[in-house]
């Protein structure tokens, strides 16, 4: 029983982070119809920045250090706010290959920037997780910090949902995503909406990295892995849909955890198989719109 519970919690932990990354990717696509291949590296960036700032203030009281966790998210958001107008905007009107090429170039740049700034070795912030210890649930012992991550994921999902469906900005966002020209004709400043949407998407990815880093270190290559996994999530859940990102993240989290427990060698292959089957049967995903 406790074996099962631990795997379930791990699945939820994974799903939490994946939801943040994939949700950001989906949001950006939903509003702007572009996929940023460097999105995974924004997640990595968030992880590195948080780990680094926690390391910087290692001497400070722990409570202060916890407050540093969002720093990674904010840094990723700031980076996104800079990137959209400079690197992405020139390409909206050009054929899609160019968009893909430029974000791929960005992927390569960010990967090496991470190495340049923080070196080739993993960067961690374990202290924050270790100090919280573990808690006993129904006979299983589980790190308390991980429960915090799961909680943050759930809260973010609720917050995002209300943000998108209950605020004025959310209405503007949804209108622009459905019909860019019409919104523009109605007076919406599309350029500003785009940069805001992109920033929000990057914030989410950065947050995913920031909250996971106390639990597992920031390493090079985590960005591309995250990109591929979040892609599997949106394939299953449907690109452009936040509910889809949530559903997809949960499914991927569970399947991956089951794969690790039962077939560790080919766990990645099982996920790809699943994504392939979904693509073949229901190309738009569970919740997607074409």
């Amino acid at each position: 029983m406790d074996f099962f519970l631990i795997h379930l919690l791990n699945a939820l932990l994974y799903a939490s982070v994946l939801f943040l990354i994939a949700g950001g990717l989906s949001l950006i696509y939903g509003v702007m119809r572009i996929v940023n291949l460097a999105h995974g590296n924004l997640y990595a960036f968030g992880a590195y920045v948080t780990a680094w700032s926690v390391g910087l203030l290692a001497a400070a009281p722990l409570s202060l250090q916890y407050l540093l966790i969002p720093v990674g998210a904010i840094a990723a958001a700031a980076l996104g706010a800079v990137l959209e107008p400079t690197l992405l905007r020139p390409f909206y009107k050009r054929p899609e290959e160019y968009q893909l090429l430029v974000t791929f170039g960005l992927l390569m740049i960010l990967e090496d920037v991470l190495r340049l700034v923080w070196g080739p070795y993993p960067l961690s912030a374990n202290i924050l997780a270790d100090v919280m210890g573990s808690v006993s649930i129904l006979g299983a012992v589980y790190p308390t910090y991980n429960l915090l991550v799961i909680a943050i994921g759930a809260v973010t999902a609720v917050f995002l949902w209300s943000f998108i469906y209950r605020t004025r900005f959310g209405v503007v966002l949804r209108a622009t995503s459905q019909d860019m020209r019409m919104s523009s004709a109605l007076g919406v400043n599309v350029n500003r909406v785009y940069v805001q949407a992109f920033t929000l998407g990057c914030l989410m990815a950065g947050l995913g990295g920031a909250i996971i880093v106390p639990s597992q270190s920031a390493v090079l290559g985590m960005g591309v892995d995250a990109l591929i996994l979040s892609f599997i999530v949106v394939v299953i859940g449907g690109l452009g849909s936040l509910e889809g990102a949530l559903a997809g993240a949960l499914i991927v989290g569970v399947v991956r955890e089951a794969g690790i427990a039962l077939f560790p060698e080919i766990e990645l292959a099982v996920l790809y198989l699943m994504a392939t089957i979904v693509l073949l049967l229901r190309p738009a995903g569970l919740f997607g719109r074409a």
């Binding site: 160019y98 960005l106 740049i109 591309v224 693509l279």
Partner: protein
């Protein structure tokens, strides 16, 4: 009808012979004037030229941007290495046959999944599948040698020319010419393919998928065949590369390598036939000398890619062509 003659003459692909022959002659004669190290370096460039040529059948002619072509290069390379390890093969011809068979199988399978989709889905699917292969090369380390990789000794060419003895002389001499002949063959073959009715159909699909469907082209089938041809060329390049390198590691399946293929093709110009080849050879020199400068050369590559896409989208060949046209007009 003279208009037909005019129409065909001005666009005749045979005009390419004007460039091709001097360059071919130069390549034949070069080893006599440059040193052995430079000859081997050029061999690497020619091999990557074949890979880029294959890659560009998909990008430039069919409009599909693959981020996972390292998979097929790696398949070619590992097939050779595994043939050495498990079958004790030393014949280059057998290596090539094995690599082709392996590439056909993998590209047929991967292509079946990927070509149902276009653009971003296609791109990430190809990336994802190549990552699967990479992770398999890691995990099954008792087969693939893991990160240490597998060594491959110099092969025997045509059953007669043995690789034993002075390795450098072999690679700079007989092996260079072997690669060169195959390079000429691949270029000629690809040239015929892109100028065939099939090639025209691919370009139609690139330009307007719906219209292509309504002209009677079964888009999915054609894309799949293009994927197959593209992957086999790249796999062949992988097989030719291994003896040069002496070793194959999972690096060759990892996504940055796919990135290099994309980069060199865009550098040379993906809207022309020769662009990818030029890009591959130029890139080969750039990489060799830049790696000496800095270990952050992926940063360099990414930056140049962004600049290229922003301001020089037609690459070296395209820009040179434009300059040439302007110079001709100015005279």
């Amino acid at each position: 009808m003279s208009t037909l003659a005019v129409a065909l003459e001005t666009r005749s692909p045979a005009r390419v012979f004007a460039w091709a022959i001097p360059i071919a002659l130069a390549l034949l004669v070069l080893p006599l004037v440059i040193d052995q190290y430079q000859t081997i370096l050029l061999s690497y460039g020619l091999v990557m030229g074949i890979a880029a040529l294959g890659f560009n059948l998909l990008l430039g002619y069919t409009g599909l941007l693959s981020f996972g072509h390292s998979a097929y290069f790696g398949v070619g390379a590992y097939v050779v290495a595994l043939m050495v390890k498990y079958l004790g093969v030393a014949s280059m011809e057998l290596f090539l046959i094995g690599a082709i068979i392996g590439s056909v199988i993998v590209t047929a399978l991967f292509g079946f999944v990927c070509v149902r989709y276009t653009r971003i889905f296609f791109g990430i699917l190809t990336l994802a599948l190549s990552q699967v292969l990479w992770s398999l090369a890691f995990k099954f380390f008792w087969v693939t040698g893991g990160t240490d990789g597998l060594r491959v000794p110099t092969p025997t060419l045509l059953g007669a020319v043995s690789g034993k003895g002075d390795k450098i002389a072999f690679l700079a001499g007989p092996y260079y010419y072997y690669v060169l002949v195959l390079f000429f063959g691949c270029v000629a073959l690809m040239w015929v393919i892109v100028n065939s009715p099939f090639g025209k159909a691919l370009q139609a699909i690139r330009d307007n998928e719906t219209r292509a469907e309504f002209v009677g082209i079964q888009v999915w089938h054609y894309r799949w065949v293009a994927f197959l041809v593209s992957g086999v060329f790249t796999g062949l390049a992988g097989a030719l590369w291994v003896p040069l390198n002496g070793l194959t590691t999972p690096e060759v399946l990892y996504w940055p390598f796919s990135g290099e293929l994309v980069f060199m093709t865009v550098l040379g110009g993906f809207r022309s036939f020769a662009g990818p080849i030029v890009g591959a050879i130029v890139f080969n020199y750039l990489k060799t000398y830049a790696v000496g400068f800095t270990v952050y050369w992926q940063l360099l590559m990414g930056t140049v890619l962004v600049i290229l896409v922003l301001s020089l989208p037609t690459g070296i060949v395209g820009s040179a062509g434009r300059l040439l046209a302007r110079w001709k007009r100015a005279r």
